[in-house]
């Protein structure tokens, strides 16, 4: 809630054309995971302030150490990459079913849209049970973990998802 207000302030500043001057451009642009405001699951503001790159988003979708989205989702447009999972619904047509704000919210924290979803929250840093240090099996080194994807990676994935029309 506190962060929500802070952001609103920052947005007002940005709208007045003062944001960049006030914070320095990179800083002003990026929303930290704790600052993201979910409105019934939707996130309307860009997390990075930089438009998403479709090709980079495609890479995040298929790469194990990144989104690895196809571990759970089938995507016909990615069928040249082997092994698509069946845990979640197919993402074919996702760019038609959902708006940009809805997709950003689903990727950043799917549980805000789908209660108790099995889909991991990709832009979250705390609130875990026995958080580990990546895939080592050892305890996390810091109280807050780095999010699974960066702000820009999420923007890239959202840009990619928006290309999935049936």
């Amino acid at each position: 809630m506190r962060y929500g207000k802070l952001r609103a302030g920052a947005t007002a500043l940005a709208a007045a054309g003062l944001g960049a001057a006030f914070f320095g451009s990179a800083l002003a642009a990026e929303l930290a995971p704790q600052q993201v405001v979910y409105d019934e699951g939707k996130v309307s503001e860009s997390l990075s302030g930089v438009p998403g790159d479709v090709e980079a988003g495609r890479k995040v979708m298929i790469t194990r150490g990144q989104g690895n989205c196809i571990a759970c989702h089938e995507v016909t447009a990615l069928k040249e990459v082997p092994f698509h999972g069946e845990v979640g619904p197919t993402l074919d047509g996702a760019g038609e079913r959902w708006s940009e704000a809805e997709l950003r919210g689903i990727v950043a924290n799917s549980k805000m849209t789908f209660e108790d979803s099995m889909m991991p929250s990709f832009y979250k840093v705390s609130g875990y049970i026995r958080p580990g240090n990546a895939f080592t099996g050892k305890a996390a080194k810091t109280a807050e973990l780095p999010p699974l994807l960066t702000a820009q990676q999420i923007e890239d994935v959202v840009a990619y998802l928006l290309t999935l029309k049936e």
């Binding site: 089938e74 082997p82 698509h84 999972g85 069946e86 026995r130 958080p131 895939f135 099996g137 305890a139």
Partner: protein, 284 residues
């Protein structure tokens, strides 16, 4: 949520990629070992299991190639380790000058043991696993050193003793004094661990038979443990598997032999009540 046709389509893709489209055409095969021992690999779920109607052995989810390893003892690489344990069984070790055979005669005397493991030990006032019973004999009856939980002689002996129950139905007791341990294991099964926030149930109860990337999810049963893993070229215990699964959720795991994993073993075993003991089974 997902339509049937979609699921079938997805599995056709996955199977085609794995080059075993033929498996699609067939019903689930029966497991008969050495053309003799008939295994129950699918049966009605035990009453305490609210969310499943049918339980299935991990064997039913594996490829034909992996399944074949388990259908004949000459093809089962786990049997090499069983043979090694047979020698150990006869070997005197420790200050008391005894071997397993001094007290128990042949390993057949262990029939039924695996089927009821882990179980409440009255003297100890705790649920004990096979490893704990084995080490109790080593330390207190043989006056020999305890074996490490993951040591080769422990894995081998566990496999030899488990084999004596092969074909018997898993029948783990969950009531009486074991109940609180069982409850603890059950709670763990539904806990969403790690940064990926996934529970055992997410993968093995809600998604068994689905693919997660290249992996065909089973029900995560442990009636075949210790299993021989081709990838590791060795026997592994259920605790080792639990560790791997929890690690894969980007969580801090528990260790082999920890009270948490003993509780989880009891709970997961009980989910397989009614399946045949299959140890040592073979996995990829």
């Amino acid at each position: 949520m997902r339509s049937i046709s979609l699921r079938i389509l997805a599995s056709v893709t996955a199977l085609a990629v794995m080059g075993s489209l033929s498996a699609m055409a067939e019903e689930l095969p029966e497991l008969v070992i050495n053309e003799d021992i008939e295994m129950v690999t699918r049966t009605k779920a035990p009453a305490h299991l609210e969310n499943l109607d049918e339980i299935r052995s991990g064997w039913t989810f594996r490829t034909k190639e992996t399944q074949a390893f388990q259908m004949d003892d000459f093809d089962n690489p786990g049997m090499i380790f069983v043979d090694q344990a047979l020698d150990t069984w006869e070997t005197v070790d420790g200050a008391a000058g005894k071997s397993c055979a001094s007290c128990h005669e042949g390993p057949e005397s262990m029939a039924g043991m695996r089927a009821s493991m882990p179980k409440w030990n009255d003297d100890a006032g705790a649920v004990w696993t096979m490893e704990m019973y084995i080490n109790d004999c080593r330390e207190n009856r043989m006056q020999a050193d305890a074996w490490g939980w993951k040591s080769q002689p422990m894995l081998n002996m566990n496999a030899l003793i488990s084999l004596q129950s092969r074909g018997m139905p898993v029948d783990v007791k969950i009531d009486g004094p074991a109940q609180s341990t069982w409850e603890k294991g059950k709670e763990m099964y539904y806990t969403r661990y790690g940064q990926l926030e996934l529970s055992c149930a997410n993968c093995h109860e809600q998604n068994y038979d689905n693919y997660i990337r290249a992996d065909h999810l089973s029900q995560g049963q442990i009636n075949g443990f210790p299993v021989y893993r081709l990838k590791q070229a060795n026997l592994i215990t259920s605790h080792n598997r639990f560790r791997g699964c929890i690690r894969d959720t980007r969580a801090e795991t528990f260790s082999e032999g920890s009270p948490e994993f003993i509780a989880l073993e009891l709970y997961v075993s009980s989910r397989g009540n009614g399946l045949s003991v299959e140890a040592p089974s073979v996995r990829n």
